[in-house]
């Protein structure tokens, strides 16, 4: 199954009530798949007139207590940022998917990881965070839908699956073995006010600075609590004296590079962040005591690099290897770079 289709099928199985989307390559399969399959389950799927409309439909549906998802790719995802900020402010759970293509601007439809900053630092205006999951396989495209809905509803916060054009388009085997995400009560939802309760309203507006600050502080507490959701995968780190750090598609390529490097006698390991927010900074700080240096592999000009540097806080040098514009590094490119770095470090 294609990554995008696996994600779409998982949304149905996880109990997604409604999907709103607008076509854009390389993620249109999500909308197409759901337009075909979702009505059979009596669920709502709508092609909106724009990504602006999609995200605001998502807001309305989430505010009414429904389990909802939208997906897009970079230019369309940029267009959603105001709405995402409103949802973070109004604390509405939802699942967002960005199948990252290379940019800026219209860019190309080939895979990229240039949206890392947008995904992990808030993206829209104001002071907020999304929980960000980075799948590296078709199986994870499916699995993270279940995890994403679970976390979104647990924290009343938007969750973002940050994928890319390659993971979205590639075909792999996928197993669907998870039960639907259990429903939790949403007493805050706007479903019509029965006589016995006071009205519910969904808003991100707090016009008094004192109240706004209190709201900001409450969100901050929530983001602190979210830190315990940090997830990552380690490959061959036990005896590593050099560390690769890479997520998603570049995580897969880096994994191959570790195999090649080990074959050549280099003691290299890999840390693959699965959550980009929260970021595995504690584990990286620990590993900084063990390894001589780190190299981030990214399909951008060095974005996660900054978070790795913050995590290791100057203890070891952190370098970056990136390809841009939809081009990919090969495992050999990475090993070659490693050999150069280690030679220089030893000299």
């Amino acid at each position: 199954m294609k990554g995008n289709e696996a994600l779409a099928e998982a949304a149905i199985r996880a109990g997604c009530d409604a999907y709103f989307g607008y076509p854009i390559t390389p993620q249109s399969e999500v909308l197409e798949y759901l337009a075909r399959e979702m009505p059979r389950y009596g669920r709502l799927v709508m092609q909106a007139e724009s990504e602006v409309a999609s995200i605001n439909m998502l807001y309305g549906a989430a505010g009414a207590g429904f389990r909802v998802m939208t997906s897009s790719s970079s230019p369309g995802f940029s267009l959603m940022q105001e709405g995402i900020s409103y949802m973070a402010g109004a604390e509405l759970p939802c699942l967002l998917v960005n199948v990252n293509r290379a940019g800026p601007g219209l860019g190309t439809i080939q895979p990229g990881q240039g949206d890392y900053f947008q995904a992990t630092k808030g993206g829209g205006h104001g002071d907020y965070r999304l929980l960000v999951l980075a799948p590296a396989s078709v199986q994870e495209m499916a699995d993270f839908v279940f995890l994403g809905f679970t976390l979104a509803e647990k924290y009343r916060n938007p969750v973002l699956i940050l994928s890319d054009g390659a993971i979205g388009q590639m075909m792999e085997k996928v197993v669907f073995d998870q039960a639907p995400v259990p429903d939790i009560p949403k007493p805050w939802a706007t479903v019509g006010k029965p006589a016995h309760r006071s009205r519910n309203y969904i808003t991100s507006l707090h016009i008094q600075p004192e109240q706004m600050e209190q709201h900001n502080l409450r969100l901050l507490e929530k983001y602190k609590a979210m830190q315990e959701e940090v997830r990552f995968e380690e490959i061959a780190t036990a005896d590593a004296d050099y560390l690769l750090v890479a997520y998603g598609l570049s995580g897969r390529i880096a994994h191959k590079a570790v195999d090649v490097a080990r074959h050549r006698g280099l003691r290299v390991g890999l840390l693959r962040p699965i959550t980009l927010y929260p970021f595995p900074e504690r584990r990286l700080a620990q590993l900084a005591r063990q390894v001589q240096g780190m190299l981030t592999i990214e399909l951008n000009s060095g974005q996660m690099l900054e978070d790795v540097r913050l995590a290791v806080n100057g203890r070891v040098p952190v370098r970056h290897l990136g390809r841009l514009g939809g081009m990919l590094p090969t495992p050999d490119d990475i090993v070659h770079e490693l050999e150069n770095i280690l030679e220089v470090q030893h000299a």
């Binding site: 409604a18 909106a48 409309a53 605001n56 505010g63 019509g192 009205r199 309203y201």
Partner: protein, 268 residues
């Protein structure tokens, strides 16, 4: 500012006195929170009419309102129903999802002319074109009230605003957008009317229009749009009385009153 809250409180007290009869009161669907609207602003009056209709129809439990960004952004502070506050211009997208997922509920958006006719025109046209089965209450006061009186798409030709200091120029900014006429053309609308609240008769007609539009939701026939010509005395730099006169005598020349579409058919 509060416009009707104080006199209302007074009538409620009076009603407690023997021998007095309450002839005017706040509907149960309207909270007693003092309104922030400027004195004499149409927003407070339209809020009350809408809430009266909802109380009279007995649909408070089944109604969900969508507030805009504009002076009425705080509508949910006054209306005692479940509500969502939408991003600027996006109320029709929000309402689409709410109504599609809960078709048995009554859903309305309440939007100003900047919100609906400028930044939100795409969401509005597409919702109407899909025939979304909700009510759009469209408050046309010819300016951006909340941001203090800039030009709106509905600003009259030649009208002075803070961003058209020499009067609106059609050459530069086009002509006043006639939303009701536009929306009536789309097959998705079931009922389209333009009203005002500038005198007692007009207030009664507006209330009737709101009721008709909400009742039509039971029929599942399409979108109802009630455009209400409103005043903005603060930004028009007029007294409330002068501003109501301006609505009645000047605005209605560009925006004629009356029904444009009834039961899905264009009115002659």
């Amino acid at each position: 500012m509060l416009s009707d809250t104080l006199p209302l409180a007074a009538t409620a007290n009076a009603a407690a006195h023997e021998g007095y009869e309450a002839v005017y009161s706040r509907p149960a669907t309207l909270l007693s929170t003092p309104m922030h609207y400027c004195p004499g602003c149409s927003h407070s009056l339209v809020h009350k009419l809408l809430m009266e209709v909802i109380a009279e129809m007995g649909i408070q439990e089944h109604t969900i309102g969508i507030a805009p960004v504009g002076c009425s952004v705080f509508a949910y502070e006054y209306m005692d129903i479940d509500m969502q506050e939408a991003a600027h211009g996006r109320a029709c997208a929000v309402a689409t999802a709410v109504k599609r997922l809960m078709p048995d509920r009554y859903v309305f958006t309440y939007q100003g002319d900047g919100d609906l006719a400028a930044i939100g025109i795409a969401e509005t046209i597409h919702a109407v074109n899909r025939g979304e089965n909700f009510l759009i209450v469209f408050i046309n006061n010819a300016v951006y009230g909340m941001t203090s009186g800039q030009m709106a798409p509905t600003t009259l030709s030649g009208m002075k605003t803070t961003t058209s200091p020499c009067g609106r120029s059609e050459a530069l900014t086009g002509s006043p957008l006639k939303i009701a006429e536009m929306m009536a053309q789309l097959p998705g609308t079931w009922y389209v009317t333009r009203q005002m609240v500038a005198n007692a008769n007009a207030v009664r007609r507006t209330k009737k229009a709101l009721r008709h539009a909400l009742e039509a939701q039971q029929l599942q026939k399409g979108t109802c749009l009630v455009e209400i010509l409103a005043n903005c005395p603060s930004n028009w730099k007029m007294t409330p009385v002068e501003s109501m006169k301006f609505v009645e005598e000047t605005m209605t020349q560009t925006f004629p009153l009356g029904d444009l579409k009834l039961e899905g058919r264009l009115c002659k």
